[in-house]
Amino acid sequence: MSEAPGPVASEPLRRLGLDSCDAAELAVMAASERLLAPLLAELERLDLSAVGVDAWSGYGEAPR
């Protein structure tokens, strides 16, 4: 991600009207991307293909 202030090419940000970023925002966005990238890669390696998403109640035992 470029750290020069100005618009960033992001459709979600453009839709929110937040695609114009200042230097402080860009620095944090770049740091966040850098920190999360290896963690996201690890999560992608976890095989979750057979796991369904449970209805969320927050209580009690989950279905097996």
């Binding site: 402080a24 925002e25 944090v28 963690l39 996201l40 449970d54 969320w56 989950a62 279905p63």
Partner: protein, 453 residues
């Protein structure tokens, strides 16, 4: 005794019940204690200055009748709209009788102080808040933690004896650990979140912070709206999920390990268990909290609040908005998997234990932590341990268990199955009993108080 605020929550309630102090005297003591200690700490955003008689008349004679409580500035009070750590009141949540206030009132307690918080709750340090950073009573050059840092610091400094925080990613337990107080994250859904800026969240819950586990129980009972009877637990089975014991400051590992040894000597069975997927909990909670906020970014909020935020907070909001749908789906599946793993694990053990955070409170001036893996972002490091309870909804309590060489507190977190708050608090009281009072003492606040424990 120089001030009723040198007493704990139950002692204040007893004083009031015996007619030896009045609610007005306690409120005045809060004002005086704030004037004395808060300029250095920045724990309190505002103190009630309305008609106390009217508040008392509207409050039933519950067990905490007249006791002043601090409430995180993410929750509406009848006399203040939540500011959420920003310079302005939330445009979405007006002042009023929130779920937390209703529950407190039913127990007789009065929400008379609003406590500072990390801006929007996006941070575990408390050093970013429109009113200024919140400092740690044990060392004011250090962070109080976040996002409920004001609640923890106000309790540790003796400005109030009990406070309410919210916890979507460790935001009760992290500041409790940093500030050397007890913080309970109840089961998700156990406390009503209407009138809270995080009421939409599938991971946030409100809960109590207090000086010790018994006071925490006294405040948890009205908040949860049910009795949590104390019992002596024999031979508890406690699992240590190895994924939550990785990459810790040596002092944290040592203090938490010693606390568990003390419990084992008292008859608990401490066993190691594998829960490898918990390694992803920190990332998963960062994704969940970030994505769940996106529908809150309304036109009004973006126009009136967003431009006033700290640049770093704005950057995090924007970074989370760019996460892709595949990541969100993987996180949802991970949540399901972890809940199933926990359902099985809690058939075998009653508690899980882990350090609350991997390192003690970082400096306010540069809040980073040095772990065996290197210097890193304090927020992501902190989410590593706390994320599991938020993702799965289980209750967890952070209990002070020692201090590092600089006197900064260290907390051990105990987790229990859904709805088992009374078990958690029993275990927390056992832990306090078996520890040889190793917890650190604040530089201001409890350390100067005769009645402190």
């Amino acid at each position: 005794m120089t001030s009723p605020l040198d007493l704990g929550l139950r002692e204040q309630a007893a004083l009031l019940a015996a007619g030896e102090a009045s609610a007005a005297e306690l409120l005045q003591a809060v004002r005086e204690r704030r004037a004395e200690r808060d300029p250095e700490l920045g724990a309190v955003a505002a103190v009630f200055d309305g008609d106390l008689g009217h508040e008392l008349a509207a409050t039933p004679a519950g067990p905490l009748y007249g006791v002043p409580i601090g409430v995180k500035d993410a929750i509406a009070l009848p006399w203040r709209a939540p500011h959420d750590g920003t310079p302005v009141p939330s445009p979405a949540v007006p002042a009023g009788e929130s779920g937390v206030v209703r529950r407190l009132r039913a127990g007789g307690a009065l929400a008379l102080a609003a406590t500072r918080m990390h801006q929007l709750g996006i941070g575990t340090t408390g050093h970013v808040c429109a009113g200024g950073p919140t400092a740690n009573p044990h060392d004011p050059s250090r962070c109080a933690g976040g996002s409920s840092g004001g609640s923890a610091a106000a309790v540790a400094a003796g400005i109030v004896a009990g406070a309410v925080g919210t916890d979507a990613g460790g935001s009760i337990r992290i500041p409790a650990s940093y500030c050397g107080v007890v913080g309970l994250k109840p089961t998700w859904g156990a406390v009503p979140l209407d009138g809270c800026t995080a009421s939409y969240s599938s991971v946030a819950v409100a809960g109590p912070l207090a000086r010790d586990a018994a006071d925490c129980r006294a405040l948890a009972e009205p908040l949860l709206g049910r009795r949590l009877p104390a019992a002596r637990r024999e031979r508890l089975r406690i699992a240590l999920p190895s994924a939550l014991w990785e990459d810790l400051e040596p002092a944290v590992r040592e203090a938490c390990g010693a606390a568990l040894e003390a419990l084992a000597e008292d008859g608990a069975a401490v066993v190691e268990r594998q829960l490898p997927e918990a390694r992803h909990a920190g990332l998963a909670i960062a994704v969940t909290t970030g994505v769940e906020r996106l529908p809150q970014l309304t036109e009004t909020w973006l126009e009136t609040v967003f431009p006033l935020l700290d640049g770093g907070v704005r950057g995090i909001v924007k970074a989370r908005a760019t996460l892709d749908a595949g990541t969100v789906q993987r996180v949802l599946r991970l949540r399901s998997l972890l809940r199933r793993r926990l359902a099985t694990l809690f058939e075998d053990v009653e508690l899980l234990a882990a350090p609350t955070v991997p390192a003690t409170a970082p400096p306010l001036a540069r809040p980073r932590v040095a772990l065996p893996s290197g210097r890193t972002s304090v927020d992501l490091a902190n989410l590593q341990q706390v994320g599991l309870a938020n993702l799965t909804g289980i209750p967890a309590v952070s209990v002070p268990c020692g201090a590092d060489a600089e006197g900064l507190p260290i907390g051990l977190t105990l987790h229990a199955a859904w709805g088992r708050e009374e078990l958690l608090l029993d275990a927390a009281e056992s832990l306090e009993r078996v520890l040889d009072d190793k917890r650190g003492r604040p530089a201001v606040g409890l350390g100067s108080s005769e009645g402190a424990r």
